[in-house]
């Protein structure tokens, strides 16, 4: 099991568009993918589960990956999530 901490810099928080992009990528890995925010866990392969977190700007997320391809999966998903949540985006 591998984890990575990510702080949400995007003022819009973990909103639907980045969540959708993340889920599509998470569904491509074999490992189990979990996002944790305020102690609440979300299945990284389910868009509704991630949106249910309601993670807002400034909050910390833990990305947890567990499975046969966890090393590559964490690298890919961690990089993607950082990029999705730190990018300066239009609202």
């Amino acid at each position: 099991m591998l984890t990575q901490q990510i702080q949400i810099a995007d003022v819009a928080g973990l909103h639907a568009r980045p969540a959708t992009e993340f889920v599509k990528r998470a569904q491509s890995v074999q490992s189990q993918v979990t996002l944790v925010c305020r102690g609440r866990e979300a299945n990284g392969k389910s868009i509704l589960s991630i949106l249910a977190l309601g993670a807002i700007s400034g909050e910390n997320l833990t990305l947890r990956v567990e499975g046969p391809d966890e090393v590559a999966a964490l690298r890919m998903l961690g990089t993607q999530l950082n990029s999705l949540l730190n990018a300066v985006e239009e609202a």
Partner: protein
Amino acid sequence: MLFSEDQILMDLTVTTKEELIRQLVLQAAASGKVTNVEEVIASVLKREAMSSTGFGKGIAIPHGQTEAVLEPSLWVGKTRTRIEWNSLDGEPVQIVFLILVPATAQSEHLNILAQLARKLMHDEFVESIHSTTSAKEMMDILSQSIQ
């Protein structure tokens, strides 16, 4: 806070997402919560074009954020037949939750979305809203869920 029976439109005969969004935005304008219908529709469609909000289970949650929206509000539309939405699960959509927020809103939209998502994760809830036939019935189910 932001929900009443006149925010629910049932048995809509629309056949496209554009028509459905228009119906809901017109209702929002009639309630005085939107000042410019075309601007709001354009905002919702622009967002939808970036990435579909058809999140599966026959449900979409489009949203718009513009200065033409006066206060955060939620609008529900249920169509007579399912319409194409380019959903994540490939299935057409029959129930739409339209979230409208002012340009200055920060986390309101995310908060409404999170509340809806928490409910929609439960198949029993999804089945109950799919089986509703009246705005009153839909209102009763949703008012227990959205605060």
